[in-house]
């Protein structure tokens, strides 16, 4: 009863100078699966996640999502949500504008934007 594999990290390697953050790291994640990376600090968890999001260039390795090789795809095109450790809120925008930003970037369609805005009331 294995669910379809959606995300494959294949042989990711990244060194920072002499420190090998990722050493031929591989991982497969199925659709709907909740995966947690645990480990002591400095073991490469953040590096792996950032690599997946496209924020960390790799020395070698491949990332496949939905059977598509996105290793060289820029972050903005990867359509992945990332919650940062330090929140990374834009200081000059209100909370609403912060939320809207992602929607504006992805959905050029304003109707969708309005619908999502109305959905906001659901959450508050």
């Amino acid at each position: 009863m294995s669910a379809a594999i959606e995300v494959k990290l294949i042989g990711l390697s990244k060194s920072f100078g002499e420190v090998k953050a990722l050493n031929n790291f591989s991982l497969e994640m199925a659709k709907g699966e909740l995966v947690a990376l645990l480990g002591p600090s400095g073991c490469g968890k953040t590096t792996a996640l950032r690599a997946l999001a496209g924020l960390q260039p790799l020395d070698s390795g491949k990332i496949i999502v939905h059977d598509e090789d996105i290793t060289n795809l820029p972050t903005s095109k990867r359509n992945m949500g990332m919650v940062f450790q330090s929140y990374s809120l834009f200081p000059h925008m209100s909370a609403l504008e912060n939320v809207e930003y992602g929607l504006k970037m992805r959905f050029r369609n304003f109707q969708v934007l309005k619908d999502r805005k109305n959905q906001r009331n659901y959450w508050t």
Partner: protein, 302 residues
């Protein structure tokens, strides 16, 4: 109740004795003395003296003269133009330069050298600056001679452009760029890389980021720096004095003529009225600068 009154805090002197209360203020006395005699007092002298008139009388005569005489109005106009152009050029070039430096190695030697050089260039005395540009673009300047030997007669041959408004703008921009770097680099470096990453992971391109996030966050600092550059150029005297610029009769030059020339004998108030005019312009500009700085500090704290 009585015990509370006897508690003495380390930070504040809670005593009713006026004498004991004023002792800490003695600590600032030497500084206050210097500040008073060499900053406050001269300013007061200037303001007071601007009310001096022809033949030593008192009134608004000098101030009105400065505000209405073609010669002085032109002086202010040229001063403001010079300051504005060089501030703008310095802000843009310096801003780009700041960005370029900020994106480099923050611990490296290059950056350190660049900052050291900027500190020196920004304070580079007007006289030395003038000689540097005369050595470059003057009638016997290095570039003038080079251009002449390669191109024959060209725009650089007649070096008198250096003495015009254009020349002054080019020379002033030379010290505006490093000043911009010094003032603006911290602002650019305060742009957290996480913001760019957050924007990217939300689907925004580089253009989106700069348009919607980078530029709005940097705007107050940039404008503030621009104002500072303006005030800096507006107040400058040495460069123009060393160039003895006839083509750009800026206010500081007019003030120096007023002090040392005929004018001071007939109407000692003119130089002071001109000075008051300068103070007014700079105060307005610096006020804007401080307002913008406050705005920025709100965000930096977050």
């Amino acid at each position: 109740m009585q015990n509370k009154e006897r508690v003495i805090s380390l930070k504040k002197l809670e005593t009713n004795n006026l004498f004991r209360k004023s002792i800490p203020y003695l600590g600032v006395f030497p500084f206050a003395l210097l500040a008073f005699f060499f900053l406050i007092w001269p300013t007061l002298v200037v303001v007071y003296g601007s009310f001096q008139n022809l033949e030593g009388g008192y009134g608004f005569g000098s101030l009105i003269e400065v505000a209405t005489n073609e010669k002085y109005l032109n002086g202010f106009k040229v001063s403001i133009q010079l300051a504005a152009y060089s501030a703008f050029a310095g802000a843009v070039l310096g801003g780009l330069f700041s960005w370029a430096i900020a994106n480099g190695n923050r611990e490296g030697y290059f950056r350190r050298l660049v900052l050291a050089a900027s500190g020196v260039f920004a304070q580079f005395g007007g006289v030395m600056l003038t000689f540097a540009f005369l050595a470059t673009f003057g009638f016997n300047g290095m570039l003038t001679i080079l251009a002449n030997s390669y191109f024959g007669e060209n725009i650089l041959t007649d070096a008198s452009w250096l003495y015009s408004l254009l020349g002054l703008v080019v020379v002033y921009t030379f010290f505006q760029i490093p000043l911009m770097l010094i003032v603006f680099l911290p602002a650019i470096e305060n742009l957290k890389p996480e913001w760019k990453e957050a924007s990217e992971s939300l689907g925004g391109s580089t253009a989106n980021y700069w348009l919607k996030i980078g530029a709005p966050i940097l705007a107050p600092s940039f404008l503030g720096a621009l104002l500072l550059l303006f005030a800096n150029a507006f107040s400058a005297y040495a460069t123009a004095a060393a160039l003895i610029s006839q083509g750009a009769p800026i206010v500081p030059l007019q003030i120096s003529f007023a002090i040392s020339g005929e004018v001071s004998r007939t109407n000692p108030g003119i130089s002071k009225a001109l000075a008051v005019g300068m103070i007014l312009v700079v105060v307005v500009v610096m006020f804007g600068y401080f307002k913008l700085q406050n705005k920025v500090s709100k965000w930096v704290k977050s």
